[in-house]
Symmetry: C2
Subunit: 451 residues, 2 copies
C-alpha cells in the first residue's frame, strides 16, 4: 500500500492544482530532498542524526530549544538534578551537522496536500518527507478538569512546578498552627504505578527522610506521607511480577504506601478520592497514570487513523497508510508490536524508530522499497531511591544494588552529552555519599497573608 | 550617643507604655536574648554564624529561601552557571546551628517601639536586637519607568530574565527577514561601567563570539554588538586608573564598545538615548548604573536618617544613632569610611559588618561598650572573559592572566558550600578548555505570530 502510493507520488508530481506555496514545496531538480521532523526528543534527534552525510536537507522543528533526557526528569522534580543537567540545546547537538536547520517554533497543523507544516509564529515549512516525533502528553481519560490539580511530569516546566510546590509545602507546614493543614501539606499522592510514579515516590521518600531531615525546627520532614496509587493489582504491570514485588518492597522500606487496585475517582484542589469510597487530603498530586499522543496528531486526523490514546496508527514501516511520505515515531505513534499490542512508549522505541524512519526515507529517495521496523528490546529498568532498582536486561531479572548499578551505568552511557555525563555521574556519587541535594531554591514566590 | 541610649535602655526597660505585644518582646529572665536578622545575604548569614555557640536565639528572615553568591550572578545571566551553582538553601547552611530559626517571609515594616518586625504573611517577630541586612536594589535615579526596559541584575529572577531574553533574541534574529530588526535584536546595551556591567559585557562577548558561533545558520552571532556605557571618564572608577585602562583594553579585544562620558538620558522598549543626542536601538538593556537601600529601610525612616541612596546612616559601631538595639550592615547601610565616603557595597563590607554587629550585640548583652567597626580591605577585582581580569590586592595591581588566576582562586575559596566549590571549579575549567556553556534552555515560552 505505502509502496504503491509512494510510486504514484513520484510519477505524478503535478497531481493537484499547484499554488505558489506548493510549487515551493516541489523538490527542484538539483536541490536536496527536504525532510522535516516535528519534535526534538529521542525519536526526532536520532532521525536527524541518521541523515548526517546524506544529500538531504533536514529541518527540525521544536517548540522547545533543547533535547530533554526525560528518564531523569523526576530527579529535577525532586531537587536532585538541575534542569541544565538533563537538557541539551538542540543547536548545540547539531552544530557540526550542516544539513540540519533548527526552527524554534510550534507545529500547529499539517497540510498533507501541499506538503507543508504550519507553524505558530513563522511561515509554513515545505517537506518532501515528514517525520512526526512530537511525543506524548498526559491523558486524564476524559477528566481534563483534573489537570489543574493532578500535575503531570512530562516537561521541565512540570518538574519545576512540582519541585517548587514541594519546597513551599515544607515552608508552609513549618509555620502553620493547624495540625490538619500541616498533615495535608505533607501528604503527596502519586497516581500511576509505572516508572514515573515509582521513581518519583522513591525520590520524594529520600528527600523527606534524609536530605531535609535536619533543616526544619517545627516539623519532621520524615513524617511526609507518600501514597502511590495503582489501578491494577501490582505496580510495574509491564515488568515481571517478581520485579513488581521487589519494587514494592523497596518502596515500602522507604516508607511509601503502595496501594494497588486503587482507582482515582475524583480529584480536587485539596485531595483525591479512591474507588469512590476513600478520600486522601493531599498537598501535592502527581499524575503519572496515562499518556496520549501529541496534539499535532490532529493535523493528520483527516488522512490517518488515531487509536483511543490519540496515537497515530502506522504501518510496520512506520509511515501513515497511504502516505509513504509521512512517518510517525516514538510515543506519538501506535506501532504494531508482538501479540498485537503497540510497542511501549519508552526512549528505546523512539530512538530505534527514528533511525528506522530515516533509513526508509533514504531508501525511498533511491526508489527502493521500505523495510519493516524491527524493535530490539534491550530491557526495562527503574530505580527506587539511591541504591535500589529493578531491571530486566536481556532476560536477567535484577533487583537491589546490582540492578541499581546497571541502571546508573546505562543511564550515564545514554546521556546525550559528555559534559552532562560527567556532571550527572559526579552528582550521583555525591548524593550517594551524602544524601545531599542541590537546587532547593524557591523562585518567583510572592509572600502574602493568604497562604 | 549610642552608648548613652544603650545604657538608658538597659536602665529603663519600662519607659514606654507596655502593650501585650511589647511585653512579649521583653526578654524573660531565663530565656536567651532574641536577635532578629532581616536578610540572608552575605551580611545576615555571617552575622547569624557569629552567634554560634552563644546563648542567643537568632531568627533569620528572608523572602527567599537561599543565600545567593551575587558576585557570580552575571555568569547565570550569561548561561555559564546554573542558578543552583550560586544559591545555597539557608536551611541547609544552618542545619547544624540549633540557635538559628529561619522564617521564609518578607519583612514589610519595623515597629521600633514594640521591637517587632512586621511580616507579609506571618505574625510579627519580636526582637531584643535587630540586624537589618536587607541588601540593595536598583536605582534609576528618579526614572523608575526605565525599570521596565532596562533590567537590573540583582536576583536570580533578574538573571533568568536576562538569560532568556538573550537566547530568545538569537532565535528571533535567526528567523526575521527584517535586517534592521535583526540588528536591533543583536545589540545589547549595558549601562554602568562597574564590575557588574564590565563582567557581564565580557561574558556576553564570549558567549556570542565563541560559544554560540556555530549554532545558527542565518546569523553570525559574532556580529552581536555589545555597548558598555559609563557616565564618568573611565570604567571601574573605583579602581586604579591603570586597571581601568587594562579592563577597557581587554573588553575592546573582545569586541565590546566601551563608551565613557555617556549618560543615558532616555530608555524605552527598543533602545536608549545617550547624552540627549544619540540613540542606540537595542534588543536588551541591562541596568548596572546604581543601587539604593532596600525598601524595608522605610520601616525605620521615622527613627533613622536615610542618605540620598536611601541607605540607613549608622554610627561607626553600625547601629542606628539613638537605637543601640538596631544594627544595619551591608549594602543597605551607609557606613562612614575613609575620607568621609561611605564604604563600598561589596561582599567583604557586608560580611565583616555582619560579624562586627554580632560582636557588638554580644558585648551589649554583657553590658559592655560597643566597638567601632574597622573595615579591612582585601582588595578589589573583576574578571573580563575567560582568562583576563584586573585585581588590586594588597596594593598589587594585576592584569591579564595572573589577575584572572587570583580572581578564580579567591572566588572559589569564598563560595559558601563545598559542593558548589567543586562544581564551579569544574565548570570553569571546562569552559576554559572548551568555550562551552550549559543551561542555554528557554522555558515557559509561548510561540505566537506577534513575536
Amino acid at each position: 500500500m505505502y509502496q504503491e502510493s509512494h510510486t504514484r507520488k513520484k510519477q505524478e508530481p503535478g497531481l493537484a492544482t499547484q499554488t505558489t506555496a506548493e510549487r515551493a514545496a516541489t523538490p527542484t531538480a538539483t536541490g536536496p530532498t527536504r525532510v522535516v521532523i516535528i519534535g526534538g526528543g529521542f525519536g526526532g534527534v536520532d532521525a536527524a542524526k541518521a541523515f548526517k552525510g546524506h544529500d538531504v536537507q533536514v529541518t527540525l522543528i521544536d517548540k522547545r530549544n533543547y533535547n530533554l533526557f526525560v528518564p531523569l526528569l523526576y530527579q529535577v522534580a525532586s531537587s536532585q538534578l538541575s534542569a541544565e543537567h538533563i537538557a541539551e540545546p538542540l543547536r548545540h547537538l547539531f552544530c557540526h551537522q550542516k544539513n540540519v536547520t533548527i526552527i524554534f517554533d510550534e507545529a500547529v497543523d499539517i497540510d498533507e496536500e501541499n506538503k507543508q507544516v504550519v507553524l505558530a509564529a513563522n511561515a509554513p515549512v515545505s517537506y518532501d518527507y515528514l517525520i512526526i516525533a512530537a511525543g506524548a502528553r498526559d491523558s486524564y481519560f476524559g477528566n481534563d478538569q483534573w489537570a489543574e490539580y493532578a500535575w503531570g511530569l512530562k516537561s521541565l516546566e512540570d518538574a519545576h512546578r512540582i519541585q517548587q510546590r514541594m519546597l513551599l509545602n515544607y515552608e508552609l507546614a513549618e509555620v502553620t498552627d493547624d495540625p490538619e493543614e500541616r498533615k495535608r501539606l505533607l501528604t503527596y499522592v502519586l497516581v500511576g504505578g509505572g516508572p514515573t510514579g515509582v521513581e518519583m515516590a522513591g525520590a520524594i521518600a529520600e528527600l523527606s527522610r534524609f536530605t531535609l531531615k535536619k533543616e526544619y525546627h517545627n516539623i519532621d520532614t520524615g513524617d511526609t506521607r507518600i501514597v502511590l496509587l495503582e489501578g491494577l493489582d501490582r505496580i510495574f504491570p509491564a515488568f515481571d511480577p517478581k520485579l513488581s514485588a521487589a519494587a514494592q518492597d523497596a518502596l515500602e522500606k522507604l516508607g511509601v504506601e503502595v496501594r494497588t487496585k486503587a482507582m482515582v475517582t475524583s480529584v480536587d484542589a485539596t485531595g483525591v478520592e479512591i474507588n469512590k469510597e476513600e478520600r486522601i487530603e493531599a498537598g501535592l498530586i502527581i499524575w503519572a497514570a496515562g499518556i496520549q499522543g501529541a496534539s499535532i496528531n490532529q493535523g493528520v486526523a483527516d488522512v490517518a487513523e488515531l487509536d483511543r490514546g490519540k496515537r497515530i496508527m502506522v504501518t510496520p514501516e512506520l509511515n501513515i497508510p497511504g502516505h509513504p511520505e509521512i512517518f510517525v515515531v516514538g510515543d506519538t505513534a501506535h506501532i504494531p508490536g508482538p501479540e498485537g499490542r503497540p510497542l511501549p512508549g519508552v526512549a528505546q522505541v523512539a530512538q530505534q524508530g527514528g533511525r528506522a524512519a530515516a533509513r526508509n526515507i533514504l531508501l525511498g529517495i533511491k526508489g527502493e522499497a521500505y523495510q519493516p521496523f524491527v524493535y530490539k528490546d534491550y530491557g526495562s529498568m527503574a530505580t527506587i531511591g539511591r541504591n535500589r532498582a529493578v531491571a530486566d536486561v536481556g532476560g536477567m531479572k535484577l533487583t537491589g544494588y546490582p540492578a541499581w548499578a546497571v541502571w546508573a551505568f546505562i543511564h550515564i552511557l545514554r546521556l546525550v552529552n559528555f559534559r552532562n555525563k560527567v556532571y550527572v555521574f559526579w552528582k550521583w556519587m555525591w548524593d550517594y555519599v551524602g544524601y545531599n541535594r542541590s537546587g532547593r531554591i524557591i523562585t518567583d514566590y510572592k509572600h502574602d497573608a493568604e497562604d
